[in-house]
């Protein structure tokens, strides 16, 4: 068994080294954010700094409204995730379990736009928001994010719902359960693995979306976190320290959320994914 152990040690060493290399950009971000404010052009792009200082974080909190931008991101992301789950699960239920007028046409239309890139629609959505008076408001992002997230979510949820045994549904119907009751009391509670995937996916896309936010949100007060490096790049242009402190601050919440969701995500994917 020693050969096997040696092989395992080798594999372990390989993964460790690779992981360290993998982390370099993130470590660099952290290191530069702790650079003393009057230092410039540190060696190795910033992996080596002379001295450590917290001043950049103080500066950022005094001069930039990180919390406000964080709230903006939350105010856009959470409603869009919520709406996507509700709207797409309703639609997916109908598509999977009900018969209605032009059902297949709707499904194919939706599935066609599965790959619709947001940049394609940035000009018209900008104009629609303008017509509806939604530019510069949270809704101006929430609605398009939801609309563009729904097809993907429907596809995931529909296949999950479709695999649900018909007998249980029929039994519930005999007990006088309405269609909505079946959706709400029977389907949804057992569909959490698929819903989890939808939530995580939608959260990531809404939280990190950039181009639509860039053209929709013109007042600083409503700009979400992804725009923050741009908003303050004029102000902190000459100062890499505060800039990287900002980058660290906008990255931290996502890492924390991911860390907390991590187990959940793998099990969600496993439960939902790939039963060939």
């Amino acid at each position: 068994m020693t050969r096997r152990n040696a092989a395992r040690t080798l594999v372990f060493a390989f993964v460790t080294i690779l992981a360290l290399i993998w982390l370099v950009p993130i470590i660099m971000m952290l290191v530069v954010s702790f650079m003393p404010p009057d230092q410039r052009a540190p060696r190795f792009g910033g992996l080596l700094i002379k001295g450590v200082s917290l001043q950049n974080y103080v500066t950022v909190f005094e001069d930039a409204e990180i919390v406000m931008h964080f709230v903006n991101s939350v105010a856009v992301t959470i409603p869009s995730v919520f709406l996507v789950v509700v709207i797409s699960s309703l639609a997916a239920f109908a598509l999977a379990r009900l018969k209605f007028f032009a059902r297949d046409i709707w499904f194919y239309l939706l599935i066609m736009t599965l790959m619709l890139p947001i940049p394609t629609l940035v000009v018209p959505i900008f104009q629609i928001n303008k017509a509806l008076g939604l530019n510069d408001s949270y809704l101006g992002l929430i609605l398009p994010y939801t609309a563009l997230g729904v097809p993907f979510a429907i596809v995931i949820l529909r296949s999950f719902f479709a695999g649900f045994p018909i007998e249980i549904e029929e039994a519930a119907r005999l007990d006088g359960c309405t269609r909505f009751g079946i959706y709400w009391r029977i389907m949804m509670p057992v569909s959490w693995p698929a819903v989890a995937v939808v939530i995580i996916w939608q959260f990531m896309t809404s939280w990190n979306e950039f181009i639509l936010a860039l053209v929709t949100m013109s007042s600083v007060e409503v700009k979400p976190l992804t725009l923050v490096p741009l908003v303050y790049s004029g102000q902190f242009m000459m100062r890499p320290g505060p800039m990287f402190a900002i980058l660290t601050l906008i990255t931290l919440p996502v890492i924390v959320v991911y860390y907390l969701m991590q187990r959940f995500m793998v099990s969600g994917l496993t439960a939902g994914a790939v039963r060939g």
Partner: protein, 428 residues
């Protein structure tokens, strides 16, 4: 310093809020721009509010590319803020329909001969690109500047170099030496189109002063020899290692600036605005009182003789939205920021040279710093005849593209200039 500053702002906020409860005639002016930076803007607002407590100014300062996007968003929603920062030429012309003519405001503030109180280049450029017969001024100049070169004093000293180069041979000799020392000879972040253009404008100015504006108007061809020659020089700067390695993949702001501040550049193209480095918080040693840098004229690389005049123009001007509910108050704010208490607060940060003649910072950190300021305001700025900016945005874009293409070795200088010729013909 910051704490004090914050305290003042908080007090001001409380003050304005409590005032607004009592005063009926409280007016709010929204201001958007990329320049001046937010801290300076806040200082200007504070100075303005000392005499004008009834006008609240809400500033939003973002960096330039994003500001352009925001401006478009707001203009198409017909919701331009009361006060906007503008650049002369293409940008101002694009929003002309949304802007209010400002000459009446100027006359009311400074009298009939108001134009004489500004540096001539500022007035001339404020109208840049106006259609025939339209003599309106859609934005009033706030800051002006020249474009030129700077060198890093300690880097020169360490290498035992006496002074800045004046010819191409000297420049090349210095470049070889600095390259071997691991220092960037001329540090340029050529990812940014404007800095590519600045270099080209100085090259063509060296070869044929004034010709490019003729060509822009269709009275000369961009494919003529002087233009191609300037483009060839541009390419040579890359091939001969005058610019640092990888210059095309670097932004001028902030990437090149950081290396400059770190003392890793011998020379760099910048303008009068570089003096503002001294006013930034926590300045690195070179930036303090700009002790580490000295300005110099773009060398006579082409051997045609060094021009005595510099290129320059308006750094930032300000306009008022046609839809503003408070034109008088907006006028008051702008003019204060040009020549009043707000202007003084602005100039005190050495942000750039004033457009209004006679303003000076109240304080210099050193005699040397004061000397540099006076070199710009007394000797260089008054000589400025030609604009740093082009007025036709299509030609301007074509020039930036051509410079990138030629530098990348993807087109010849002649092919590059053909792009400009085509762009001008298409837009005329």
């Amino acid at each position: 310093m910051y704490k004090k500053f914050l305290l003042v702002i908080c007090l001001l906020l409380i003050l304005t809020m409590s005032v607004s409860v009592f005063a009926q005639d409280q007016v709010t002016i929204r201001f958007r721009s990329w320049s001046p930076v937010i801290n300076t803007t806040l200082a200007m607002i504070e100075a303005f509010n000392e005499d004008n407590p009834n006008i609240t100014i809400e500033p939003d300062i973002t960096n330039y590319p994003e500001y352009l996007v925001d401006l478009q968003t707001m203009a198409s929603a017909d919701a331009l803020p009361d006060l906007v920062g503008l650049q002369p030429g293409a940008l101002t012309q694009q929003y002309r329909e949304h802007l209010m003519p400002m000459q009446d405001c100027a006359v009311a503030t400074w009298g009939e001969d108001w134009q004489d109180q500004f540096y001539p280049i500022g007035i001339e450029q404020a109208r840049l690109g106006n259609p025939e017969g339209d003599d309106n001024i859609y934005g009033l100049p706030v800051l002006t500047h020249t474009i030129n070169m700077w060198y890093t004093v300690p880097v020169f000293e360490e290498a035992g170099v006496e002074g800045p180069p004046t010819t191409y041979d000297e420049l090349k000799e210095l470049a070889d030496m600095f390259n071997s020392m691991g220092v960037a000879p001329v540090m340029i972040g050529a990812t940014d189109g404007w800095i590519r253009r600045d270099i080209y404008m100085q090259l063509i100015h060296n070869i044929a002063p004034g010709l490019i504006y003729e060509a822009e108007d269709g009275n000369a061809s961009f494919t003529e020899e002087p233009f191609v020659e300037a483009m060839t020089w541009w390419k040579r700067f890359f091939d001969d290692g005058i610019f640092q390695i990888g210059a095309l993949g670097m932004t001028h702001y902030p990437a090149a600036v950081e290396q400059i501040q770190g003392g890793r550049a011998a020379m760099f193209p910048m303008g009068a605005w570089w003096q503002q480095q001294a006013a930034n918080p926590n300045p690195p040693p070179l930036d303090q009182n700009i002790q580490g840098y000295a300005p110099f004229l773009f060398p006579d690389v082409t051997g045609e003789g060094q021009p005595t005049d510099l290129l320059g123009g308006i750094d930032v001007m300000m306009g008022v939205s046609r839809n503003t509910a408070h034109p008088e108050e907006a006028c008051k704010v702008i003019t204060d920021w040009i020549s009043g208490a707000g202007a003084q607060a602005l100039i005190n940060t050495y942000n750039d040279l004033p457009a209004y003649i006679g303003l000076e910072p109240e304080y210099f950190g050193s005699e040397r710093q004061k000397g540099i300021w006076e070199l710009f305001t007394k000797e260089w700025l008054p000589t400025v005849k030609y604009a740093r900016e082009l007025k036709n945005s299509d030609v301007k874009q074509a020039l930036e593209n051509a410079l990138a293409g030629v530098a990348a070795g993807e087109m010849t200088p002649a092919e590059g200039m053909q792009l400009l010729e085509d762009a001008r013909d298409a837009s005329m």
